[in-house]
Every structure is written in C-alpha cells, then in structure tokens.
Amino acid sequence: MSYNNIEKDRSEGKGDGLRLWESLCGGEKKALDDLFRLYYTPLYDYGIKIISNENIVKDAIQELFLKLWKTHSSLNTTPRSVRAYLLVSLRRILFRSLNRKQKCDERNRKYLDNAFRNNFTQEDLMIRSETDEKKKKILLKAINRLNKRQKETLFLRYYHGLTNEEIADVLCINRQSVKNNLYRALKNLRGIITSVPDSV
C-alpha cells in the first residue's frame, strides 16, 4: 500500500513514543536519547517549514529536549500523542524566537506572516516510479498553492500522521477548524489530481 510510512508513524506515535516517554519520566537518560533519535528528523522537517533557518531550528530542538530532561521528574501526565506534544512545543519555541516581543495569543491571531510560507519541494514527496513523477509535480504545485493553514494542516496529517484532535492541539485552534481546513485542502488537491490520467 502506498501509505505505508504513515502507518508506521501512527503506530510509533502511540507505541514507542509513549513507552519512551514513560521511561523518561522515570529518569532514564537513555530514553531521552532514543526519543531524540526517533523524533529529530520529523521535528526538523516541521521546524524548517516554519523558519527557514537551519541554526534556529536546530537550537530550538536542543532547547526542547534539554527542557524535557530538566523537567522530566515533574512531567506526571502522559500526552495523548508524544509526537503532537513535541511538535507543539517546538512550534512555541520557534514562534517565540521569531518575535519575542509579542504575546502568545497575539502571535497566534496574527499567525506570523513569514511562518509556514515555505514551499514544499520535490524532495518532500514520495515518488515511486517515473510515471508517478509527473503526477507528483502537479500535486506539488497544487499543495504549494494552498494557503498556509491548509498547507500546515495537510503536512501534520500526511507527514506526521496526526489526528484532527492532535492537529488542533498543535495549532491552538478548534477541531472543527482543523476538519474544515483539511477538507478544503483535500478538495483543492483532488480536483487537480483527478484531472490527471492514472498511470498504468
């Protein structure tokens, strides 16, 4: 099936992540390393879409995991999804570094003009065959034409495999808005995809 890697992400989100989280709360340093290895790439890939500065994203990930270790003994609640928890924390750190003078809600209302304006590239999409490639190019163009919110929602759903509820937590908006954004994004994409003839 073509959504294999999503499946993998989902099961990791609920299984390994949570197990490691609990070990971390118990003070196991190795769990911190394993969490870092497990989530570094997805966090980076998300962060770089928010701020296109490698150093800032890397530092933010460092800050996130160091803080996790500093507070591990007081983390007495287990998040529904470790991935969603880490993504929202990273997002918060990055927004703070984007404009540290603004308050949180103010920041969210304005949804900083330069955040998530970065386009996706060929590299971001899975391509399995050459005939696939043509289709992907068209899909990519369509994804990049979506608005920022739709783009981010789509990315959180299809790259990170988050549920609507988890996406709502990450973006600090309600679940219905997530659903609407996703619906609109899918509608835009589907119109374009179905107009391209299927390969084979």
Binding site: N5, R37, N55, K58, E63, F65, K101, R190
Partner: protein, 364 residues
C-alpha cells in the same frame, strides 16, 4: 456525482474513517464503517477512490544526516546542567555544616575539595563561606574578572552569583545572614534563594546611579554601558534610580521576562519584554543572538574579551546574526562566526577584521 465527489474529501477529513482505512480503528469503528459500506453498493467505489487518493499524498522524511552530532550536543548540554545542579546541592550542604559539631569536619573539608575540583573544570569559583570568621572585622572584598574569564560565587544559603568577564563585584567579607548589599560593575547573573525559614532578608545590588533590590529571584545585571540592563528570569525585583543625595528618582517593580534599562544620563528606567534566556545564555558558556545586528554582537564581544571589531561598512554593521555561539574561547567563537557569516574573520593584535564574503549565500 457531485455528492460523491464531496463525500470523499469529507470522509478523508474524518479521523475515524482514516483510522479505518489505515487499519488502526477500534472494533467499534470497524463495525460502524463495515455497516456503512454494506448499506449502499455505490460506496465500494467511493471507498476505493478515497483509498487511492489518500495514498497519493505521501510525504517522505529521510533521516537527517546531523542527528548524531546534534544528539552529542544535547548530551553535553544535559551534562552541563547536571554538573551545575550538583554544585547547587553541595552549596546546600554547607549551610547544614554550620550547625554541626566537629566530628563532621573531615567530611566537610573533603566536600569542599570536591566542589573545587569539579568546578575548576569550567571556572575556579570562589566559595564564599559565611560566618567562618566570627571575629574578623567587617570589610569588603572585590572579586574581579579579566578578558574571557568568569567567576562563580556561592553564598552559604545556596544563592549563587556568576560574574562575567571584565567585571567586578564587591561584597562584605563576612556574612552572617540578614540583609546583604553588593556592588557591581560589568555583568553578573544572580540566583538568589528566597529562604522562607530564615525570615525576610533583602539583597540589593548597587549599580552606577541606582540599585536593584531583590526578594528571591534569578536575574541578570549588565552595567557595561552608561545604561544598566537588568533582566529578570524568575521572582521579583525592584529597580531604583537615585540621585547624588540618594533620593529615588525613578523606580519600577519588574516581572519575569522583563528587561529594565536604567539610563544614567537621563535618570530614568525603561522596561521592555525580552526573551530572558538570551540574556543569561553566557552563564552556560554560550552567546545567543536572534536577528541581532553585527554591530551589537561586536559590542558584546568587546565587553567580554576586550577586543575591537573593525566594522566600517554600514551594510556589515547591519548584518543580522542568529544562532547560538560557543563562548568559552574567543578563537572558537570567531571560527563559528566565520562559518555563519561566510567571511574570513581574523584577529590582528586584538582587532577583529572581517574579510570579503566567500560566496553569494544569503543569510538572514
């Protein structure tokens, strides 16, 4: 037709449906969707299309190459944090010592040696031990630091002060509890313990033209300039500007995350919100910049290492620097800066010269 078209996106925006086609749905959900499927023969086709479209949008995440080096960086930061936490614990033991009898002295001395040898790795601290000299006259001691040097001072109640480079801190040689007054020139980070058991005591830092009064708190004071900057991390402090006759000209009660600038020429206090972590990063041997003009970075380096930057070009002065730079050694710092700016950076007899840019790379 149009109804079906619409339904596919609706279905894919539904968590339960997606869980079902991805195989992670609960028994109950599976039953629900099976029933949905059997209810209408046309739905078989809808399901097929939904699955195919769902599989179409597929992002890949290839493992980042720097995972291991970044993990190494994290481990170092964790180690650093734990070392400083250990140091704090040991300071607390000093406090207990003052009430104990002679039989414990050997152990305490051993402990003192351990404290010194652990801390010497980074900076030799001066352990400021209280009431050890009951009869000594009350006099003032000044701790000073040179270029690129830092000093850690521990108070017997667990409070600690870290003195940044080119700074001096004057404090009484003897401290038997109660109010404490110190004077600062340069920059220092204060972590003052608010000990409810020992009753209210005040701690104040005298700076040119004013004072910072503290209850129990973490804050940073920088007097390198004509303007004293106080950044509050935790707790509460009062900042006061005074005239020559010690009359209060301006005062402000700071909240965490604020920076007060006490301007000596105007005798006024201006407060803004800042990211306080950035201002205390030097205590962890880092300098953190976030879209900071190079001219300001240069000033910071001058304060710490006593070296001047040659920045004649206006555009160069306004170049924004973001990121975290190592601050335990000026050469390492300059190397990192060189990589960041993609310009050769050379140190000629204490003057830093920036060469021509190596490539056309854009850096914000």
């Amino acid at each position: 037709m149009s109804k079906n078209e619409e339904e596919i996106e609706r279905l894919l925006a539904d968590d339960s449906f997606v869980a079902w086609i991805e195989g992670s749905a609960s028994e109950k959900e599976i039953a629900k969707w099976r029933a949905w499927l059997e209810n209408d023969p046309a739905r078989k086709q809808i399901l097929k299309e939904a699955q195919s479209f769902h599989g179409e949008i597929d992002f890949k995440g290839s493992r980042r190459p720097e995972v291991d080096t970044e993990l190494y960086r994290l481990k170092e930061a964790v180690d650093n944090f734990e070392r400083s936490a250990e140091r704090e614990n040991e300071t607390a033991i000093f406090r207990i010592h003052h009430k104990t009898s002679y039989s414990n002295v050997a152990a305490v001395i051993l402990l003192l040696v351990t404290v010194l040898s652990i801390a010497t790795f980074i900076n030799p601290p001066e352990v400021y031990q209280s009431d050890s000299l009951e009869n000594a006259p009350r006099e003032l001691i000044t701790a000073t630091t040179q270029n690129g040097q830092q000093k850690a001072l521990a108070l017997s109640d667990g409070s600690k002060i870290i003195l940044n480079a080119n700074s001096s801190l004057t404090y009484p040689s003897q401290y038997t509890g109660g109010d404490l007054e110190v004077s600062l020139e340069g920059e220092a980070y204060f972590n003052i313990v608010n000990n409810p058991g020992s009753g209210k005591r005040s701690f104040s830092v005298n700076v040119p033209g004013g004072a910072v009064e503290v209850v129990g708190t973490k804050f940073n004071v920088n007097t390198y300039d004509q303007t004293t900057e106080v950044v509050l991390v935790e707790g509460r402090v009062d900042v006061k500007m005074r005239d020559r006759l010690s009359r209060v000209k301006d005062s402000y009660v700071m909240a965490p995350g604020e920076m007060s600038r006490m301007s000596l020429p105007d005798g006024t206090i201006n407060t803004t919100r800042v990211e306080s972590d950035m201002y205390v990063a030097w205590t962890q041997d880092k300098l953190v910049f976030d879209r900071t003009p190079l001219a300001e970075v240069a000033k910071r380096i001058k304060d710490i290492y006593g070296v001047d930057f040659q920045l004649n070009d206006y555009e160069l002065r306004e170049t924004l620097v973001s990121g975290s730079l190592p601050n335990n050694n000026i050469n390492v710092f300059l190397n990192t800066l060189e990589n960041m700016l993609e310009r050769p950076v050379t140190n000629k007899n204490g003057v830093i010269i920036l060469g021509e840019q190596k490539s056309e790379t854009n850096h914000e």
